[in-house]
């Protein structure tokens, strides 16, 4: 990473933490459960917390009939993240679950860190959604250009920490699937990751 420009002239869209867990039932199968957690410190819609859980990503139904929902303390921010970012991410692109997603009000949130385990928990009334990462690896820095980023249009900086195992639970029920491997810029890592200090920048048109 040499010859960098110290001052990025691009427009900063949002910044914060953005860990995720993508689960399959078999290594060559489709993703059966997807979840993203957002702890946003800066955005056009202010700060906020949001957890997206798609327990049935290929179904258009939503909570309470189907385990697809978002829980947030900032509805405008949550909609901005889904419409501007999540729908463009390859893993989430064209997923029917995003079409009519219930967005519930967050009433409580907590983070637990213990050794090689990290857990994010959010509540909406009596409903609890939980993402847990275990067997954490060594952090590494990622810096990608628009051609490499998940949206295809942004530069993105982040610190990734791989998790060898992870679970997603909604309403006390563990959702199906396990962590599998994926390729990330030539490195084999798992489909569960912590992503800290993540910043998304819209490049200046050339």
């Amino acid at each position: 990473m040499t010859q960098r420009v110290p001052i990025n002239p691009g427009l900063v869209e949002w910044s914060g933490d953005n860990p995720g867990i993508y689960l399959r039932e078999r290594a060559d199968g489709p993703f059966v459960t997807l979840a993203l957690f957002f702890q946003v410190v800066l955005s056009p819609h202010g700060r906020g917390t949001a957890m997206l859980v798609l327990g049935a990503p290929d179904q258009a139904g939503t909570w309470p009939g189907t385990p697809n929902l978002m829980i947030t303390d900032n509805q405008a921010l949550a909609r901005y993240l889904i419409d501007g970012f999540v729908v463009n991410m390859p893993t989430f692109r064209a997923k029917p679950a995003l079409q009519a997603l219930a967005v519930l009000a967050l009433t409580d949130a907590s983070t637990e860190r213990q050794g090689h385990r990290h857990c994010e928990r959010v509540m909406s009334g009596d409903l609890v959604a939980e993402m847990a990462w275990e067997r954490l690896g060594v952090p590494f820095a990622v810096e990608v250009n628009p051609g490499q980023s998940a949206t295809g249009t942004h530069q993105m900086y982040s610190i990734f920490v791989e998790a060898k195992t992870a679970t997603i639970a909604l309403g006390g029920t563990r959702l199906p699937g396990t962590v599998t491997d994926r390729q990330l810029f030539g490195r084999t890592i798992s489909t569960a990751f912590l992503a800290f200090s993540e910043t998304w920048v819209k490049p200046v048109p050339t």
């Binding site: 990473m1 800066l42 202010g46 060594v138 952090p139 810096e143 990608v144 490499q148 030539g186 200090s197």
Partner: protein, 205 residues
């Protein structure tokens, strides 16, 4: 930014937030008060927060004589930051106060405001001691990547998201400390000595 290697081969030393305020009573005078706030998401010593306050930077003294103090919920992390980073951040490691900082536990912490709005505030307390760091007249966020020769330690590549503040204050138990932010240059950027730094990562090697 020219981008070639998406995965940085360096070692991540810590990542999180690191805003600060440096105040002088006159441009050619000494620093009258200094403060750094850390909200660390990952470090070798774990996560946590720490507020570093030099109420009297020119004194080798701490509590109960003055509020040269580190308020933290993770003392090993705070000591790691003080030794490996703050001590190398120019004036923060050079002032006499750095030599004798007492560590006290966090009993309350709160963040208010919006970094894209008019005002942002970090409040940290340890029992009867309460410190408010207030940043106002905020500028647009700018992503920066500082090479080792230009970074605070002189040893690390530093990625961060800078929000400049042109008006800032440090309050200790409700009393505003003397001084105002000063102009400064960072990596060729004309800015001030009051800054919000989000998504900050320090990489070695």
């Amino acid at each position: 930014m020219p981008l070639g290697v998406p995965i940085n081969p360096g070692r991540v030393c810590w990542t999180g937030e690191n805003p600060g305020i440096m105040l002088k009573e006159r441009p050619d005078g000494p620093w009258s008060a200094l403060a750094l706030f850390f909200r660390v998401a990952w470090s070798p010593q774990g996560a946590g927060i720490a507020l570093v306050l030099y109420e009297q930077p020119d004194r080798v003294a701490s509590l109960p004589d003055c509020y040269n103090v580190v308020i933290t919920d993770n003392q090993p992390m705070a000591q790691f930051l003080m030794t490996d980073f703050v001590g190398k951040f120019g004036v923060f490691g050079e002032v006499p106060a750095f030599a004798n900082m007492r560590y006290v536990p966090v009993t309350h912490a709160n963040t208010t405001g919006d970094p894209l709005g008019n005002r942002y505030c970090e409040t940290v307390a340890s029992d009867a001691l309460s410190v408010d760091l207030v940043w106002e007249k905020l500028g647009p966020p700018t992503a920066i990547e500082v090479a080792p020769e230009l970074s605070g330690t002189g040893q690390h590549t530093m990625f961060s998201l800078l929000v400049e503040s042109r008006e800032a204050a440090i309050y200790v138990n409700g009393k505003r400390l003397a001084g105002t932010p000063q102009p400064r240059e960072q990596a060729g950027l004309q800015t001030t000595t009051a800054f919000l730094y989000f998504a900050e990562s320090w990489i070695s090697g």
